[in-house]
Subunit: 563 residues, 2 copies
Amino acid sequence: MRTSKYLLYTNKNNNINNELISYKLMLKSGMIRKINSGIYVWLPIGLKILKNIKKIIYKEINKINFFEINIPIIQSANLWKKSKRFQKYGLELIKFYNRKKKLFILSPTNEEIINKIINNEIISYKQLPIKFYQIKTKFRDEIRPNYGVIRSIEFIMKDAYSFHNSNKCLKKTYNIIYKTYIKIFKKLNLFFYIIKANSGTIGGNISHEFYSLFKNFKNKKFFINNFNNIKNIKVIKLIINNNKYNIEKLRIIKFINFININKIFNIFNKNIVKIKFIKSNNNKIIALLFNKNKILNAFKIYKLKNIYKPLNYICKKKINNIFKKSLYSIKKFFLNIIIIADYNIIKIKNFIIKFKKNKKILIGLNWNINLISPYIANLNNFTKNIINFKIKNNLLISKNIEIGHIFQIGTKYSKIINSNNFKKKINMGSYGIGITRLVAAIIEQNYDKKGIIWPDNIAPFKISILPINFNNFKLVKKKSIYIYNKFKKKNIDILLDDRNKHIGKLFNDIDLIGIPHLIIINNINCKNGFIEYKNRKNKNKKIIKIEYIINFLLNKINFFKKE
Amino acid sequence: MRTSKYLLYTNKNNNINNELISYKLMLKSGMIRKINSGIYVWLPIGLKILKNIKKIIYKEINKINFFEINIPIIQSANLWKKSKRFQKYGLELIKFYNRKKKLFILSPTNEEIINKIINNEIISYKQLPIKFYQIKTKFRDEIRPNYGVIRSIEFIMKDAYSFHNSNKCLKKTYNIIYKTYIKIFKKLNLFFYIIKANSGTIGGNISHEFYSLFKNFKNKKFFINNFNNIKNIKVIKLIINNNKYNIEKLRIIKFINFININKIFNIFNKNIVKIKFIKSNNNKIIALLFNKNKILNAFKIYKLKNIYKPLNYICKKKINNIFKKSLYSIKKFFLNIIIIADYNIIKIKNFIIKFKKNKKILIGLNWNINLISPYIANLNNFTKNIINFKIKNNLLISKNIEIGHIFQIGTKYSKIINSNNFKKKINMGSYGIGITRLVAAIIEQNYDKKGIIWPDNIAPFKISILPINFNNFKLVKKKSIYIYNKFKKKNIDILLDDRNKHIGKLFNDIDLIGIPHLIIINNINCKNGFIEYKNRKNKNKKIIKIEYIINFLLNKINFFKKE
């Protein structure tokens, strides 16, 4: 494509404050524009990226024999009332009355309707398993639409559903989807982690959430969790942080002299963690864990969601009683309470908790082993925003992006909606990927000062030709068009920047948009039969003979094509 | 794909009466299912067809440098009030209040918002022309959703918009789109015609509508027009009906003896057309034209939309005056009034109109030459449904499908919505294709008693292998899988029907679904190294050596791939 025909809507003058880097870059590079709160138009370059991501997802989901269908957006409110989700979704659900005064909703997800379809289509159990998916626009009337496409009202999701005649069969498909999701997110070049929800109130249901990390987390190897829903106890499984280490056995030691603990157990001071207990507003115990050297900031705790107010540290009978009991009951206790950990202690292994009142210390505590993985928050008095913390409305804003969610639903919906005369109920799985927000997630991990750095397989154009004085030097023009046509013939998405503008402006735009491979053509090099190649990511430059550039880049591009 | 994995939702027991053949076949072949009135889910095989159609459209629209974007479905009602379309659309527009009590609509089309986007993005006139398109779900709360996906509440449309700094530039793009639409509809194997709207109340605006014909019309060479909007005077241009015939010169003959007219002018009696005049409710003259031998049914006329009531035939001064004047003024008169013609007279060429009061007859009248092409309706007392007519609520139901509509809008929206400081206003074009209804349109022209007959480029699978006793004869199984894998390697969409069912059932399903190329594998042929090939459309059978079938079909398939 030639830039003269393909308008770039780059924009240097955007004055968005306090917004995410990905949102800023999406606006600046002309990928999207805001139309209303939480509602965006995707401009050509943004849509190309979106489609490249879709292509990767289509390919992987088709491979595992899920079949694409198209589910209507408009759905009867009655169906949603049946499943009680009409009430549960509340104001998030967009509703309207049609001309005949019937109430409808705009689908945020499709469990009800897909069960209705399955109910009508399945004649016998032999036809199971059935696996459907779609990629389509969905709607959620967010109370606070924010962060660009990450929390928007209209968004694109891949939703998939599977139906089985046994729980075993469901689990098998669930595991395949689980692996496929990992494959997809890896292909999208993402650093991510997976959270497993504990068996909750609906017995036996299993669910995993996939979260993409922000750039800073890649190096610092820890993360902050979203603190929106304290009701769900979550087990965090860090995919990227699976360093092996010696796990000590959990022990209780009677307290002698806490100051000398280092000497006795030969462990670092930083491994000592303090604990305090508070209550949630539904009267559950919450344990606050923090570094021995830090001081808890009561104001920050007070501002956490779902905390019982007035704030009151409990250190009373109930807890004392537990710690008088066996190691088994302490273990059980720690695997059942809600834990909020200060972000400083997330990396600590084999840590030690002291209970002054009980004159005991607990040694060898480890996340996911004898402690449920915690909600992570900034709880201490140290205020520096180490990892770009943002406190908005005095709430901790999550610095991760939920990109996928898979769920072994079981028979819940089939019990309600399926009315046909099967003896057994159908087991269902539900699997989502947030596609529009994936774009933001990828940007959050791939940018520098100049703009976005797209991975090759997602880039809107793989290559950009930047001719210096395209309209003045005949040779530059000739060679630019020559190279451009060569790549076009190979079906490579290439952009020839033939705008009559200063090379600085061209570079700024192309770097901002994030095209991974640049070919710079100037008159002097050209005369000698050379061009300059520049890699957007590692900034490496190379002078290459014109006749070699095609193969040089085709090799690179074929490489990622094969993946 | 193997049928054992890819469920076919064919269904012989559907009891839909009085519905279109395309709708019946879409249900029977398992392409769609109805969820609510006017709302459908697209099952895997239906969606494959839809995607094949999309692919053809994408390719052609991309070729002419329209760039794809993604416009939000949810749009502010204020924007639509600004353009007055909020009122004009009325109940057809789906509206809802969000949680903050703001009113929004679900987009049926996007002229307002695209102008808003253009207004924000264009910095100078130099950036024009700009050409955008998208393929996306749209919404219209139809008063009478009907005919399956032809008149549904949720549907997929390609909408495209172009913006120009001059009317000349707009016309140029308009002509390119016009040609591209013809190309697309031809690629989709459709018989269609184009209607040109006359310059209407908004001076200078031009619009063309593309209509697909029903199968019967293909042979009978005439059609009925939709009679929804009498305000627009339309010129019908029949693309498929361009048989040459001798056009007589238009003449006025003073009336002598009407009974003897045949003898005098040597024309058939049926060429004589009677005329009556009534008024529309916006006080325009409407001419009713009908066969000399038929009697007008006043009740049917009364029930036509937009007719002034009480019904009153006018035959007064105004018209008399015209017919006293020159041939020129009569010509002009006939090219400017609204004509409603009884369907019986559509095929008549060089017809004759008699005006008893004026003692004149007019000879050599021809549609599109000296008569504006008419609205066509059933006006006479003869009730037999010659061409599968359906009279519903006493209105003639159109037997064509509007598949495309293109429009030179001019500056209408840019005047209202564009607030920036351009000296000149921007000229706009708007171009739509109804994609979901295209599926029905194609079926209406491609079916037989057994089911659908898909054109090669739209078929959900190009080839189906039908093995006889797949599970009993090892050789049949082996050869079926061998051939199947050969085509898979060539990336050909092929279905191996490995269901353990009677061959009759397999044939019924595959014929119903409309797969164009069948390979029948039985044990006896197999032993001799042969298979049987059958063409779904022309029913031709051929015994072919196994080693030749691959190339035999690849040649056929490559042929349509190249197109």
